[in-house]
């Protein structure tokens, strides 16, 4: 883990990954959209609205996955005081919030024609809304202090508290009666979905994953640049170049 936590090594690794993740994201998006909108059949019950699934479900998976990443980065930042982990957490939160927003909005657009309502306060929908608030709270806390170290620490604690919500989101459809249907893919037996629909779903999920990797690299690079600029500003301000690398300021 620590081998990748060195900023210079991260920049080299990120530079090697970025062209591949960006290229694959574009390619997978094009092929995925073709299958999602053209080459896959309408559902026998839901007709063409089933196509909303191909953005809704990958966005929901990514919302949970990014939050798990955020929690791990926050824990590493809190325990080992690792500056790159802190910056990673800060870079991840807006991406996760965007995926959660996509999930909520497309869910409403799917709920209206199929359930007859944009929104219900049931366990699945409410727990995803809470996930969204954890992301927004994380972004707000990170930027709430003049001293970035304090903001990062407060946001990391919030991120770890929010981990409680992840299994609630995942298992809400099994634990409570809800309008939302249970999982179709991650079942112990075979997936309850036909390959013609599984193909666009997995392609779009891979495209979203590639997008996440690409944007995370870009945002993390930006955070590293900002950190350098803060350090430069401090040296110029105090005239004491040796003092700045402490404490992730």
């Amino acid at each position: 883990m620590h081998r990748f936590a060195n900023p210079a090594r991260f920049q080299r690794l990120a530079g090697a990954i970025l062209p591949w993740s960006a290229g694959l994201t574009v390619l997978l998006s094009i092929v995925g959209l073709w299958f999602a909108l053209v080459a896959s059949p309408p559902d026998y019950q839901q007709s063409e609205t089933v196509r909303i699934m191909y953005v809704h479900v990958p966005a929901a998976w990514m919302a949970l996955f990014v939050y798990a990443n955020l929690a791990v980065a926050s824990a590493i930042g809190l325990v080992w005081k690792h500056p790159l982990a802190d910056l990673a957490a800060k870079a991840m939160a807006p991406i996760g919030a965007t995926f959660t927003g996509v999930c909520l909005i497309t869910g409403a657009l799917w709920g209206q024609p199929m359930w007859g309502t944009w929104w219900v306060w049931d366990a699945r929908l409410t727990s995803v809304l809470i996930l969204f608030f954890f992301y927004v709270g994380h972004i707000a806390l990170t930027n709430a202090f003049d001293d970035p170290t304090r903001g990062t620490r407060a946001a990391a604690v919030l991120a770890l508290v929010g981990v409680v919500n992840l299994p609630i989101v995942k298992f809400s459809v099994d634990w409570w009666n809800t309008l939302h249907q249970p999982a179709s893919i991650t079942r112990l037996d075979a997936p309850a979905i036909h390959p013609s629909m599984l193909t666009p779903l997995l392609l779009m999920a891979l495209a979203f994953f590639g997008y996440y990797v690409t944007v995370l690299i870009l945002r993390l690079r930006h955070e590293i640049v900002c950190r350098k600029l803060r350090a430069l500003r401090l040296t110029q301000g105090m005239g004491a170049p040796a003092m700045v690398e402490q404490g992730g300021s």
């Binding site: 609205t49 807006p94 657009l109 944007v215 870009l218 930006h222």
Partner: protein, 68 residues
Amino acid sequence: MGDFSTWLAMGGYAAFVWPSYAITAVLLIGLLVVSLWNLRRGEAELARNDRAGRTGAPGRRDRKVPHP
């Protein structure tokens, strides 16, 4: 052409299917563009600082750095 308009109509659910894809695209591409733009601005600022440092000038530390 008939096939194309049938496809656009999405079995009568065009008002739900197309906005789903449009909003997803706008949000994801928007975040990508903002992230790229911030990175470019930060790198340009750092380059200016480096040049200023080399020539012994005080540097432009009064400039705000984008920080989302």
